[in-house]
């Protein structure tokens, strides 16, 4: 019986030690991290609200994470900054409002941690999401055409519709983001880690 005890207790101990070491202690250290208050009185990072919060849900439900990361590695480690994916490395404080986290581990597509700064154009995002081939020929990103209402040839496009380049795509000449499309784009525009945090200088 004593051997069984050593076995069971030892096994339990190994896992409890790593829960403590890798989950509980880091979390306890992170408790000390607080958002910073910017010169204009707003907090960084800001909580997600309204469209950008819902857009985050859309991002999750589409599984963008399997192709896109949201973490910029430090200067000199990889070429993230030199590729223009951010101006500084990402730090834990950037993610205080992220639940669930969307750090990601795969870069079939570029990093999106600061896509809001890099590509602020809503119409670009609309065209790209509607059909990535329109803006980035040869991309392997899927079409998210179900986030858009299509305007067919001959129909009168609403004032805020976005014209497809060239002769359009098939019958469609203009597109208009629907509710989820607007939310997703609002979320993408909100992704921005340009704010300089002191700990990012390491």
């Amino acid at each position: 019986m004593s051997r069984t005890f050593v076995l069971a207790f030892g096994i339990l101990l190994t896992i409890l030690s790593s829960v403590t070491g890798l989950v509980i202690i880091p979390n306890w250290q992170f408790q000390a991290l607080k958002p910073v208050v910017k010169a204009d009185g707003r907090r960084y990072p800001e909580a997600y609200f309204g469209d950008s919060a819902k857009g985050r849900g859309v991002y999750i439900s589409q599984g963008c994470i399997y192709c896109h990361t949201q973490q910029v590695r430090m200067k000199g480690y990889g070429a993230d900054i030199r590729r223009g994916w951010g101006t500084r490395r990402s730090v834990p404080r950037d993610y205080l409002e992220d639940r669930p986290h969307q750090l990601g581990t795969m870069r079939t597509g570029p990093d999106l941690a600061s896509i809001g700064a890099r590509q602020p154009s809503e119409s670009w995002h609309a065209l790209h999401l509607y059909d990535p081939q329109l803006t980035s020929a040869g991309s392997v990103m899927p079409r998210y055409n179900y986030f858009f209402d299509e305007v067919k040839r001959g129909q009168m496009p609403p004032a805020d519709a976005i014209r497809l380049p060239g002769n359009g795509r098939g019958d469609v000449t203009h597109i208009l983001p629907n509710e989820r499309g607007r939310q997703l784009i609002a979320y993408l525009k909100r992704l921005n880690q340009s704010f300089p945090l002191p700990e990012a200088n390491q």
Binding site: S17, V23, F30, A79, Y95, E97, S139
Partner: protein, 497 residues
């Protein structure tokens, strides 16, 4: 070897085998149900994998359908592979091995059968949830929360059954496979509950959640699939060749070093990310220390096999088991080195990781589960495998498919990583460069699926009654084929009428 064999037979023969028959009879329904379900999910996972793979080189394939968008099918692929195939096959293996090694009848069979059914319903619910867009967004824990009770409760039954058998065991000795099986049943519940609490139940957020996520993501393979696979190898290799396992001391060293170090390896999945350096450093060291258990277990298995390699020509069980053990060593070496920061700078975020996962899951874990089924099914069903050719097809498809997959993805990943680290190469050029490799991955997936289908046919054949009975096992070099069964049945019919 002959002497060994004789000794074995003389020592235990009369009483021993009667017991085995009893044990197998008591566990038959449970185990066959679990393994059949596992094969079903393996097929689903393979199909989902192939669809995602095609979508990566032909984004228009099944395009524009929200249910089947890449991000969802990809999640379904991994979750059915790890929980559907991995979880269910490993649970079946665990129960059968424990019953045999403890020499006790399977307890609570009704509960286990009900549990098995509920577990599978749970996976189905989770899969549909993901396809509907209700994934939690936490990698490897994508199943929506409402699917979790279906998965947790049945697992509790399995844990209880496992402990019941262990405490009723006949012999005072505990064989090395049993250590691993006991460990799995302790680790897995702790693992799932703490990870769910930290991620989907929201106990922590931001980066701390990412750490908990990858601590789990790595351990679900390392503390669940891997120990079950090792337990199977420790059982099957000595069992089939009839020799004792090389060294008890090495078993001991391998087990405890594995238990101590594997836990800590998870954070290397976030190397370079916004984590405190110390967490990543511990992950790197945990991974590198895995050399100790991997080499130890490798030596132990290899030395046991030494002198019996000729049996690989004929024994299906042994062939799959040895393939699994060898690729265990290879993929674990790869995994340990992959954790190093200088290696991660290139291969992190690329297809390399995907290649590695498949070498581990399809090169090591799956073949050991197949070996388990090849060994146990004839005992449980009291019927032989009906086609040697299908076994051969299954084996070669598994081996060739895995190596093609791992080779293509790892090579592509290294080059992809080097190009991504050179900012003068436009991103889209890299995407385009990887496409031929992504295509060869689809090919590898199709090869693997063909192997699975071959196995499925054989599996269906062995569980459905048929007329022809053979007295000898179906060996790899036999010409036994299920056409013979059809003929036998045709002949049998007129007499019947």
């Amino acid at each position: 070897m002959v002497a060994d064999t004789k000794a074995g037979v003389v020592k235990g023969a009369p009483s021993d085998y009667e017991f085995r028959v009893e044990v197998d009879r008591s566990s038959k329904q449970v185990i066959v149900l679990y393994w059949a379900a596992a094969l079903f999910w393996l097929t689903v996972a393979s199909i989902a994998g192939i669809i995602s793979s095609i979508k990566l080189h032909n984004p228009g394939f099944l395009g524009g359908i929200e249910w089947l968008t890449f991000g969802r099918v990809r999640a379904v692929h991994w979750d059915t592979a790890i929980y559907g195939f991995g979880g269910v096959a490993a649970s079946g293996t665990l129960l059968w091995l424990q019953a045999r090694l403890c020499q006790v009848r399977m307890p609570y069979t009704k509960l286990l059968i009900a549990g098995g059914l509920v577990f599978n319903v749970g996976i189905l619910v989770g899969v549909v949830g993901i396809l509907m867009g209700q994934s939690t967004g936490v990698e490897t824990l994508e199943f929506p929360l409402y699917a979790m009770p279906f998965l947790v409760v049945p697992y509790v039954f399995i844990v209880i059954a496992n402990f019941t058998m262990y405490f009723k065991k006949k012999s005072s000795h505990t064989y090395v496979s049993q250590w691993y099986l006991m460990a799995v049943t302790v680790w897995f519940p702790v693992l799932v509950l703490s990870a769910e609490a930290c991620t989907n139940l929201g106990a922590v957020d931001g980066v701390a959640q990412a750490i908990a996520n990858w601590w789990y993501g790595h351990n679900v393979v390392g503390l669940f699939a891997t120990p079950t696979g090792i337990a199977a190898a420790y059982y099957l290799i000595p069992k089939v060749i009839g020799k004792p396992i090389h060294s008890y001391h090495l078993s001991l060293l391998g087990f405890w070093s594995n238990a101590i170090f594997y836990n800590w390896a998870g954070t290397h999945h976030l190397t370079g990310g916004p984590l405190p350096a110390w967490t990543i450093t511990l992950g790197v060291v945990g991974s590198m220390m895995m050399f100790i258990p991997v080499i130890t277990i490798g030596i132990n298995h290899h030395m046991t096999m030494l002198g019996s390699f000729h049996l690989l020509k004929t024994s299906p069980t042994l062939r799959f088991a040895v393939m699994g053990s060898m690729l265990y060593t290879v993929s674990s070496f790869q995994g340990a080195l992959e954790a190093l920061r200088s290696h991660q700078e290139i291969t992190h975020f690329t297809h390399y990781t995907i290649g590695h996962v498949h070498l581990g899951m399809y090169g090591f874990f799956a073949p050991l589960m197949f070996a388990m089924m090849y060994y146990a099914m004839p005992r449980l069903m009291n019927r032989e495998w009906s086609s040697a050719r299908l076994i051969r097809i299954h084996f070669w498809c598994t081996l060739v498919g895995t190596l093609l997959y791992g080779g293509a993805m790892c090579y592509a990943g290294i080059r992809q990583g080097m190009m991504m680290n050179d900012p003068s190469i436009p991103f889209l050029n890299i995407v385009q460069w990887t496409i031929p490799f992504l295509m060869s991955r689809t090919l590898a997936g199709l090869i693997l699926l063909s192997g699975t289908v071959a196995f499925l046919i054989n599996f269906v054949r062995i569980v459905t009654p048929h007329k022809l009975t053979w007295a000898t096992p179906t060996m790899l070099d036999s010409d036994r084929d299920w056409k013979q069964i059809l003929e036998a049945e045709k002949e049998a019919k007129p007499q019947h009428e």
